[in-house]
């Protein structure tokens, strides 16, 4: 059941440098960020109030949600700010570039919003 597949999303040029774009893949909305030739993919929803992460400002390898400035690490999905709270991590997806196209690896048949309790990553990061 934990099968996943690589899905071609869009050409690299579709993602401006240091910005994110949302894309609907099957039943989930994924945000893809261009970190300078490297493309990172996460769920598009902030774990706080569901803000669209793709519309956030990228800072280093994190994004700041446009609604209430929660800061999410794009590699791990962990919540970096606010610190000191146990928040569920945002789901991240492996990604790569093939022939100038960004390709992400998405699990098959796992509905959005469903979280495998075994796999919840709780983060306890207290970053200033």
């Amino acid at each position: 059941m934990n099968e996943s597949r690589w899905v071609r999303v869009a050409r690299c040029e579709s993602f401006p440098l240091r910005e994110g774009r949302a894309v609907q893949v099957a039943d989930r909305e994924i945000a893809i960020f261009n970190l300078g030739g490297e493309f990172l993919a996460t769920d598009n929803q902030c774990p706080h109030k569901g803000g669209p992460l793709c519309d956030g400002i990228v800072t280093g390898r994190s994004v700041v949600c446009p609604l209430h400035t929660w800061k999410i690490n794009l590699e791990s999905g962990c919540v970096e700010r606010p610190g000191g709270i146990a928040a569920p991590a945002v789901q991240t997806y492996p990604s790569r570039v093939e022939d100038g196209i960004v390709v992400v690896c998405v699990p098959v048949g796992t509905p959005t919003g469903w979280v495998d309790s075994e796999k919840i990553q709780y983060c306890h990061i207290t970053q200033a």
């Binding site: 899905v7 999303v9 869009a10 949302a22 609907q24 893949v25 099957a26 803000g51 669209p52 690896c105």
Partner: protein, 809 residues
């Protein structure tokens, strides 16, 4: 009266003359200078080249100073002959001037290494104001410059040229930059910093010739390699100017030899500054000049003492964002403590000899330099914890650092001001701000690196210290905003990432990026490199994001005056896009809430109205009452004035939102007195009020000015508006801004400013306005193809079904 002739109108000679004058009128003084300028701060030439200062800014003594002190100043005259028997000097103008005492302060000249073709057009030294002016004429985009010499002066010249758009390469003979001040690792850190600025560094290259017909075309190295160049600056070192000393028949070695009283081998001839050699050392930095000047002034006026015993050599590189400090003799000490942080580009080396500090190197962070200078000066015993040699232990008493400094410790090395002198100025002259301190003691008017130390002293000593409020935007780019504006302007930076790369942590965050975006837009009047990734989402799609990720759309309805046609279009849009909520705002406008990002361009097109900028830090609206047109109490046509005001300011961005109102009479129906800018109609004129608020804060606006004509009122508003744009901190509303500065100061710098100042404000306002455009035009002509349009995965059809074999991993 004794006739004193001074040969050399530079910093050393004049520092000495200044001290002589303090001893009372003892001499009739004549000063010869071969440059045609009054005495200027040569140390700051690199700041002039970098565009941070103008030639006028670096003048130390004006012509009035010479006149006031009855000094006969002869500029543009080079002294070519001395007759020590008859006691006369002869100028290149042929005039013979007799002297009783001769002071030689001829300084030094650029040393020109043996390179063929130095006479070609386009080869310069970097030593005088004239050199600097000539370089400024030639520097520009498209020019390829080569700087020969990787010392202090060469690096500063390189950065100055680069700021003007030149492609710059520094060519250095040695294997590491600034090898006299830095050890090889320190030099490597400096290379990295220079290269990060975009300056190429070539080490271990010996330049043998400069090629080209008449003009410079290239430089050639000893290995035959060539480098194209339109401009060559030779900054390979300096040589003391000793010719006059030779002619005067006094002892000359490398420099003019002086003893501890600054006397030469002849009783009537004295020398000071870079042309002298004292205990075998020729100094090429500014601090010794002041010390020597004081001693010589005492000797000349008949005192025996104080004596000059030499100066601890200290050097600071003056390139913004490249902090380098070196002092003492670090090379010959047996013991070292080192610290390195390659990530931050910080390097420290503290050299110890016999339990005392022998020398220090600081790269990346020079804020502790005074601590080391103090140790060097006093020969403090450093037997304490070793790690405290690198960083001071955190102090519980903020003033302790200051209290520990001796009164005789030098705070400002450029001008030679001690801690004691600053404390006297505070106690005796009531100094309580940094600007007053600068005026009173000249401390911190040189390179400015001691500013924080001066502030610290003021804070600790002055009873009514006023901190000139400086806020740093965030840790990513740790400069006060006014300083940052100076940096962006003088360093000609036009993109957010350039600023972060050079002056920040290279990353930036959601706080500094929008702030920098605003600053660049304002400073370059819209002619900056717009980077949407540095903008908040509202400014990427020109609408206000809502809690569910949809957007609100507020079209511009100038002065709150609309038409049936506009209302009909708004209603049609509400129907067509099933807008969940249509709301009358507090700003006499209409808000369409719950629009999807992808629908924004179509919504704007259907509305056929410009953006109301309700989503941004910019010009919101002008709220109006109906004024003389309909109201029986109206004294002014507030509606027309409001519409005109909105038309003039709309599409511009501001440090925080700007809400305005115009009212036709003091009944104030449109609440102009609680707006950022308000025009209040009175019988026969207008009152222009600013800094009002009725939101998070409530504040009654201050009266800026009362005028008779509507046009005058609009102009006054314009002056304040541009002044706020240029001087407020990002996210500082007008009510905080006016409160911080005081309305008196705001008036003086806007409506009561001299006409050229007002004209300059208006010009910059008009320049910004000329480039501004309706943001919603991007609906038809997006910045990026996916700015609004949603992405559909290439594999969208196959993904719902089973795995597509082509894309299966």
């Amino acid at each position: 009266m004794t006739r004193l002739v001074v040969v050399g109108n530079g910093m050393a000679g004049m520092a000495c003359v200044e001290q002589i004058i303090k001893h009372g009128p003892k001499f009739r003084i004549t000063v010869f200078g071969d440059e045609t300028h009054v005495n200027y701060n040569r140390v700051m030439l690199s700041s002039v080249l970098a565009g941070e200062k103008s030639a006028d800014d670096i003048v130390i003594h004006s012509r009035e100073w010479y006149a006031h002190n009855e000094i006969d100043l002869r500029v543009g005259v080079r002294i070519t002959g001395v007759d020590p028997i008859r006691k006369t000097v002869t100028g290149d103008d042929g005039r013979v001037t007799p002297y009783d005492k001769l002071l030689i302060a001829t300084g030094s000249s650029a040393w020109m290494p043996p390179i063929a073709g130095l006479d070609k057009d386009g080869v310069f030294a970097f030593r005088t104001l004239d050199d600097t002016r000539e370089l400024l004429k030639r520097a520009g985009p498209g020019t390829t410059a080569v700087v020969i010499g990787g010392g202090l002066l060469g690096l500063e010249a390189a950065r100055g040229l680069q700021v003007h758009g030149c492609q710059v390469t520094v060519v250095h003979l040695m294997a590491t930059l600034m090898e006299r001040q830095l050890d090889p690792p320190g030099g490597q850190y400096l290379v990295a910093k220079m290269e990060r600025l975009g300056i190429r560094v070539l080490l271990g290259r010996s330049t043998t010739s400069i090629l080209g017909k008449k003009r410079v075309e290239a430089v050639e190295f000893s290995d035959g390699e060539r480098l194209d160049a339109d401009l060559v600056v030779v900054a390979a070192g300096i040589r003391p100017n000793v010719e006059i000393g030779r002619k005067a028949g006094i002892e000359v070695k490398r420099g003019i030899v002086v003893n501890d009283y600054m006397e030469t081998s002849s009783p009537d001839v004295f020398a000071v500054g870079e042309c002298v050699e004292h205990r075998g050392i020729c100094y090429g930095l500014v601090a010794p000049l002041y010390e020597q000047g004081k001693v010589l002034a005492a000797t000349l006026t008949g005192h025996r003492g104080p004596t000059y015993t030499g100066t601890v050599q200290a050097a600071t590189l003056k390139i913004m964002g490249v902090d380098v400090f070196s002092a003492g003799d670090w090379a010959n000490a047996p013991d070292h403590v080192r610290f390195e942080d390659p990530g931050q580009g910080c390097y420290r080396r503290v050299a110890i000899k016999d339990g005392k500090l022998a020398g220090v190197i600081l790269v990346g962070d020079t804020s502790d330099s005074h601590r080391y200078m103090e140790w060097l000066r006093t020969g403090a015993d450093l037997a304490g914890p070793r790690r405290e040699l690198l960083f001071p232990p955190p102090s519980s008493d903020a003033g302790l650092d200051m209290a520990e400094m001796a009164d005789s410790a030098t705070v400002c090395g450029c001008v030679g001001v001690t801690k004691g002198a600053i404390i006297r100025a505070i106690h005796e002259q009531g100094v309580h701000t940094l600007s007053q301190l600068k005026e009173c003691t000249r401390a911190s008017t040189g390179c400015g690196t001691c500013a924080s130390l001066c502030q610290g002293l003021l804070r600790a000593v002055a009873p009514d210290f006023e901190d000139e409020k400086k806020t740093v935007i965030c840790a990513c780019v740790p400069f006060a905003e006014d300083r940052l504006r100076d940096i962006l302007k003088s360093q000609k930076l036009r993109s957010v990432h350039q600023v972060l790369e050079i002056y920040g942590n290279g990353i930036g965050c959601e706080v500094c990026k929008p702030a920098l975006s605003y600053m660049l837009d304002m400073l370059w009047c819209g002619n900056h490199d717009e980077d949407r990734s540095a903008r908040f989402i509202n400014d990427r799609v020109h609408a206000n994001i809502q809690k569910d990720g949809t957007f609100s759309v507020v079209p511009r309805i100038r002065g709150g005056v609309t038409s049936a046609d506009e209302l009909r279009r708004i209603a049609d849009v509400a129907d067509k896009y099933s807008v969940p909520m249509v709301k009358i705002t507090g700003s006499q406008r209409i808000d369409l809430l719950g629009i999807k990002k992808a629908d924004l361009p179509a919504v704007w097109a259907d509305l056929g109205m410009p953006s109301g900028q309700a989503y941004t830090k910019g010009v919101r609206m002008v709220k109006t009452c109906v004024g003389t047109e309909f109201c029986r109490f109206g004294t002014q046509d507030s509606t027309a004035a409001g519409i005109e005001l909105e038309r003039r300011f709309e599409q511009l961005y501001t440090p925080h939102k700007v809400k305005m109102a115009t009212v036709g009479c003091p009944r104030n129906c449109a609440e102009a007195t609680v707006k950022d800018i308000g025009l209040v109609g009175i019988e026969g004129g207008w009152q222009v009020v600013v800094g009002g608020a009725a939101g998070k804060s409530v504040r009654k606006a201050d009266l800026l000015v009362t005028v008779e004509q509507t046009e005058q009122a609009l102009e006054a508003a314009e002056l304040f508006f541009q002044y706020y744009r240029e001087n407020a901190n990002y996210l500082e509303r007008t009510y905080d801004f006016v409160e911080r500065l005081g309305i008196e100061k705001v008036r003086k710098e806007t409506v009561y400013a001299p006409e050229p100042v007002r004209q300059a404000l208006r010009d910059r306002f008009m320049k910004s306005k000329a480039r501004a455009r309706d943001a919603w035009l991007e609906g038809k002509d997006p910045m990026h193809p996916t700015q609004f349009a949603p992405l559909k995965p290439i594999d969208s059809r196959s993904v719902r079904l089973q795995a597509d074999p082509k894309v299966l991993a």
